[in-house]
Symmetry: C2
Subunit: 135 residues, 2 copies
């Protein structure tokens, strides 16, 4: 049965379920940051997915990256599947700006966070849940 | 015309061309580390590729991850497409060990490197160029 590890859920908000993956928002207003979690029990590496699941995951990574880019007009999209701390397969999709406080370094695994205000968070979740869909 | 940016080639060795991507070895013996560069001029983001190209890229990421894992028996494979410093689209595939000097942190963008001996590098390039193929 699919379950998201507690450590992976912490500090995140549900946005929506795509055909393969659950889309989460990282609650950190410093970096517009989404996370895809394929709903495949026990998967820790991309090659643990079937070939069909891998292609759907790529469709979802591409879609979510493009929507995030359109939404925030970032300078660069950063994509990463690490899992050194939380092994459950998850893909970070992060909008980066040349003016953000960590540029040009990776922000995956950065300690601490600066949560959104409730109003901002609700708006982002609502906006993105509408924008992220397969036409 | 496809060309790899000079900054991306630096400190790397050619392994082989797959249908979409060039496979390079990062010349740093601390971390077994491959890089895929899709041979698509001007691509900087995954969503700049066509849907077919994205699926081939996923096949290649999966294949190369699995081969690297089989070759070095890593604890975790790290995959990243950042491009904050070198914008040409490239995907890092890195074998990580709980005993490596940077665990559990990301090593993408780490300063400095510890080159392989020529003999080790030649052996790795030869082994991986034989192991990385589509059956």
């Amino acid at each position: 049965m699919f379950q998201i590890e507690k450590a992976l859920e912490r500090g995140k908000c549900f946005i929506k379920d795509l055909p393969l993956s659950r889309v989460l928002l990282q609650d950190d207003c410093r970096f517009p940051w989404l996370i895809l979690v394929p709903r495949v029990p026990s998967a820790q590496e991309i090659y643990h997915l079937t070939s069909d699941q891998q292609h759907v995951l790529m469709d979802e990574v591409s879609l979510v990256s493009k929507v995030l880019q359109d939404y925030v007009q970032a300078d660069k999209i950063n994509i990463a599947a690490f899992g050194n701390i939380v092994p459950q397969l998850h893909i970070h999709i992060i909008a980066r700006f040349k003016m953000d406080e960590a540029w040009p370094h990776s922000v995956v695994g950065l300690k601490g966070s600066l949560p959104y205000s409730l109003a901002d968070r609700d708006k982002i979740v609502k906006d993105l849940s509408q924008m992220i869909f397969f036409s």
